[in-house]
Structures are given as C-alpha cells and as structure tokens.
Symmetry: C2
C-alpha cells in the first residue's frame, strides 16, 4: 500500500458503504427508496417483477492478475442485466454486496464500484442497496438485479414448440478464446518476469468479449421493433450446447442446429487455430458470451431472417428426435453439455 492509498478500516463498514454510494442518483420511477434503510423500496405497479442473482468469487470466477477491477465491476453488473433481458424484461435496480480482504484498499473498491456504476449508467439501472464486509481471503461480489416486464410478456425457457426457429445473437466462443489467451499470457509473464510484454495485438475483440461483455438489450429491442415475441429465450452464459439442452428440457422438445450457421468471429477462429483447438467445440461449449439464444414461431421466419442482431441457426423438433447438430459434411452429431463446471475444475 502506498502512502496515498486508504485502508478500509479507516472508514469502517458503514463509512465505506456511505462513501461508495453517496453520489448515487435515482434514474427509475420504480425506485422509491434506494440505499440507506433496512431495505430498498420499489414500485412495480401493473408489471411483473424479475429477480436474478449472481455470486462471483476470486480464484473461481475471476483472476485479478489479468482482470482490472473496473472491468470486473462492469462485468459483474452486466451479467445480471443479461439475465433480465433474457426474460424479455428491462433491468431497473441492483443490490451489490462485497466481501474484501485486507489486501484491498478503499481505492481498489472505488475502482470496482466505478465499473458497476458505469454499467448502471449505460443500462439505466439504479444501485439501491448492498452490504460491505471484510473477508478472510479474496474478493467476493454478490449482485442481485431486479427488473420489470409487461404483464404476459415474460419469455421463459419452456415455451419452445416443434417447428420454431432457433436464433442466436452476435457470435460465439470469443469470450472463451479471450480467456485462453489471457491464461497463456499470464503463464508466459511468470516465466519472462519483467521483460514480459503481452501479445494482445489484433486480439482486442476476443479480450473485450472476455473482460467487458455487454448485455444484449439491442436484441430485445429489435425483436420488439419488428413485432416478434420469442417463444423461449435465455442468455448464453455456459455455452450454446448447455443452453440449448436447457430449452429442450424445459420445453420438452428436440432441436437441430447447423454447424455452418453458428456465428463465429474471425479473431475467435484465428485464436482457435493458434491454440490448435477445435473451433466449433469452442463456439458450442465456451461460456460467458452473454448472447441471447431464442426461439420464434416459423411464421416469423422472414422477420427474423432480416434481423441485424441475430441469426437463425436451426429449428425446434419433436422431443424424440433429441438434440443434434448437422455438421458441414452432413453428419448428425448429438449435442452434449460440456459447459464449465466449477466443482470439477482444478
């Protein structure tokens, strides 16, 4: 700690939370009372209230050797917003609880909050509460996000029907390849010591996808503007395969997607080649893309085919046909969940 940095103990638990939230301005009419009482007070008249929560732990979900605190804060907020958009809703409020060990200064926590606040600013969300605590080891971030949807407009995972089209926004696998790159450079940096310069040139896109993902508000808005309501929707946080299987299970349907239609960015492809990895496997099973996966009735084919933010990758089938992918050479491959499992990773 340098002389200009501030020990958290000097502010105390209440001092810190006051300090971090004192300049919070309320943006939403549904926020009646934010930080500063036993609970926040919200008013969701005539709307459905959506609630989602996410726990991020240092050493499990993030590594501060390559993830700047401001980016981490931004991402921690955005992944929650993504869950609300995936219900066809709009995020409105978050609560933020953090646990910090003694190696963090007030300035560190300010950086983290700067990222959270920036995400709130961009997505029009109010920070309405939270909790700050000491932790024995490392940084812990728990965010809960509340949002709203018009009555009857909530889109669940369970609404997909036979013949529906399967669509996905953006491109897949980039966040995963960004993580592989960061991991490699970290290893190299340990070997090379002070002479180390990370080899990130021309790989900015995949890094940004890993370090500073966005929630696809634009997709939800485009769907509304073209008058299409998805039958099922979720965000791609654990990998396309895993999420497709969730929709198939919840909706009691099968699915058939086409390898050649899976959207993959050029940088993702280059990186996979550099690592000698199977590109499609990375796109199917790499997590943290935060794209939206959704199904629409066949009758909306023309409208969704013309969408800017998403493309059609397959169709929903009867359950007995299972979940499969047709490869470029016409073979049929079963879709398996190989999503990330924090309990078995070493």
């Amino acid at each position: 700690m340098t002389r200009t940095e501030t020990e958290i103990a000097s502010l105390g638990e209440f001092g810190l939370i006051d300090h971090l939230t004192k300049d919070a301005k309320i943006k939403n009419t549904s926020t009646i009372k934010g930080v500063g009482d036993d609970a926040a007070v919200l008013r969701y008249a005539d709307k459905e209230t959506l609630v989602t929560t996410d726990l991020l732990l240092e050493g499990i979900h993030f590594d501060l050797t390559y993830c700047p605190l401001k980016h981490l804060g931004y991402k921690a907020a955005v992944v929650n917003f993504s869950d609300i958009y995936a219900m066809n809703g709009t995020p409105r409020q978050i609560t933020v609880s953090i646990g910090v060990s003694k190696r963090f200064t007030v300035e560190h926590i300010e950086e983290l909050y700067a990222g959270i606040k920036l995400a709130c600013e961009i997505y029009g969300v109010d920070m309405v509460g939270g909790d700050t605590s000491a932790s024995v080891t490392g940084l812990i971030i728990s965010i809960t996000c509340m949002g709203e949807a018009e009555k009857g407009e909530v889109v669940y995972r369970s609404g997909a029907r036979d013949t529906d089209l399967i669509c996905v926004s953006g491109d897949l696998g980039a966040a995963y390849m960004g993580l592989q790159l960061l991991e490699r450079e970290r290893t190299v940096s340990k070997q090379d010591g002070e002479d180390f310069r990370p080899a990130f040139e021309g790989k900015e896109y995949i890094l940004e996808r890993q370090l500073k993902p966005e929630a696809r508000r634009d997709v939800v808005e485009e769907l509304r503007s073209i008058g299409v309501r998805p039958t099922a929707m979720m965000d791609v946080s654990d990998g396309l395969s895993s999420e497709l299987l969730h929709i198939c299970k919840a909706s009691n349907v099968g699915c058939r997607i086409y390898e050649e239609r899976i959207p993959i960015d050029y940088q993702t492809a280059c990186m996979a080649e550099e690592f000698g990895m199977n590109l499609v496997t990375a796109a199917l099973n790499g997590g943290e893309d935060y794209e939206l996966l959704f199904t629409v009735p066949l009758v909306d084919h023309e409208k969704v085919a013309a969408m800017k933010t998403a493309k059609i990758i397959g169709r929903i089938t009867r359950p007995e046909l299972g979940a499969c992918m047709e490869s470029r050479d016409g073979n049929e491959l079963p879709i398996r969940a190989q999503g990330w499992n924090a309990f078995t990773e070493e």
Copy 2:
C-alpha cells in the same frame, strides 16, 4: 469424508441446485415463477416491493466450530426477514447464493438448506432462485429477500419526530453474551481436548438468541392490531446505540433513553457478571439481537405502554439535545456507536 457422504463434484453445479430446490413449494400468490429460469418472476400489484440483502462469510460472520449448519441456514434467512419487518413489510421471497469449498459435502449443504427451508416454512417465504458455486476457501452465503408493504405503509428510519416515544421489543444483549459464551467454550475445548464438555446448562436462552434468532413478525402484527403505525423503525442488528444514532441522523432529531428501562434478560445479566462485563454496555452495543427499535407518536402512549412484545425506553428530542442516556443515578451519558466493525476486528 465418510463412505456415505457425497462429493459435490459428483452432482455438479446444476445438479446441486436442482437437488436442493426440487421440492420447493410456492406459498405466495406474488410468486409467479421460482427457481429454474434466468430470473424469478414476481407480481406485486398495488404494493410496494421491499428488497434487502446480506452477505455472510465464514470466519467473519460465523464460526462452524460452534454454529451448526442448519442453525446457520435458519439465521441467514431470518436476519433478512427481520430487515423486511423493520420496514413494516412482510417477507415473501428469497434468493440464496452459496459458495462452498471442497471440504463441504452434499450432506453439509443439505443441512444448511434445511435450515433455510425451515425458516421459509415458518415465515411463509418462497425460495425463488440462487446460485451455487465452488469457493477457494470456506462457506459464503448471500441471501436477498423481497417483501411487500401496503402502499404508504412503509416505515423508514427518517420519520421520528420530537416528543415521539422510543420503544424496543424483547430484550437486548443476549445474543452478544451467547457469542461470548460460545467463544469461551471453544477456547476451553481446545485446551481440554476430548475430555471437554461445554458448560451450557442454564444458558440455553442466550445460546438460542445467538444461534437461532427469530425475526419479530409478532411485533409488527401487534402494532397493526392495536392500530399504531410507527413513525420510524429499524431492526437491532449492530446494537441499540448504533441503531438509535441511525434513526437520530436520518430523522434529524435527538433522543433520550433511560438505563433502567433497557430490557435485559436474567441469563444475560448472569453471564455478564460471570465475565465481569458491564451489563448495560453489552445491552447497548452487543449486536445480533434482531429486535425492533421503533418510535411512535406521543398520542399512542397508552396503546404502546400496554404492548406485550415491546416497551417504551425513552423519547425523541430536538436535534440540539443530542443522543443521550439517563443512568440509574440520574447522570446523563452520551450515546456512542460502538457497534461491531468487521474491518477493524482481528
């Protein structure tokens, strides 16, 4: 781990959360969709929505050497319910996120959830979501609670006015003395090894106050039944002194309480004497009582004086008179926040 215990990795992240929540039954009409999608869906038509959150960390907020997991789960839920009652609301839903290291088995987590579920059962609350993750060290519990209040019935900290009566429910300092007892017995148990038998007889009340606190739903209900609406209210989680100062600051008032009126249980008094501690200091500054501190207009004096669940301990004054306590011998002592600060504790 014995042969009958189950490694968490054998179920995986999704398996575990499914396993823990599969028998959840929805109790509230405001719960439209619970566990199993990107977000829970709630409907709070014509009501205010209340949201509070709490992060509990092993080694900071609890010690598993004397806190059974089931009790811990119960307490983790109840402290959130307490915050909702403190707003004059009714808790309806919680989300539960936990981080668990490899030393925990599926059976351990089931115990923790059994406590959370029991609290939900008793208080009529639905578990609607959450997240289960590996952690590097120790157990992490993050609970967010949603509740409702009739429009215009929310009670803030900021509504206390000069001449209002100050009331507190139950008794104070017991949870703190329970913690002191548990800490002492833990130290003795380390010295005595296998011959150790904890000396808990006749101290059941203070232990229960520490290990299995209740939220004061009955107080909120009694206030409603006698037609008294508090002007300000909060729960006593950090100690009476600290909470009184919060109300004084938020309401821009002073206060005067009377030492002889502070409610203290016999077991608390005995324990303080055994430890040679100042009893009033313990009652004023000991945390985790989860009693309700509230103020009512002077005109309601007769009604609150007859309350079963709470008693009058003082009155609100003009701000320039400050916050003070009149001691038994008639001296005036300033009230200072000496509540627990996790950042400075060693």
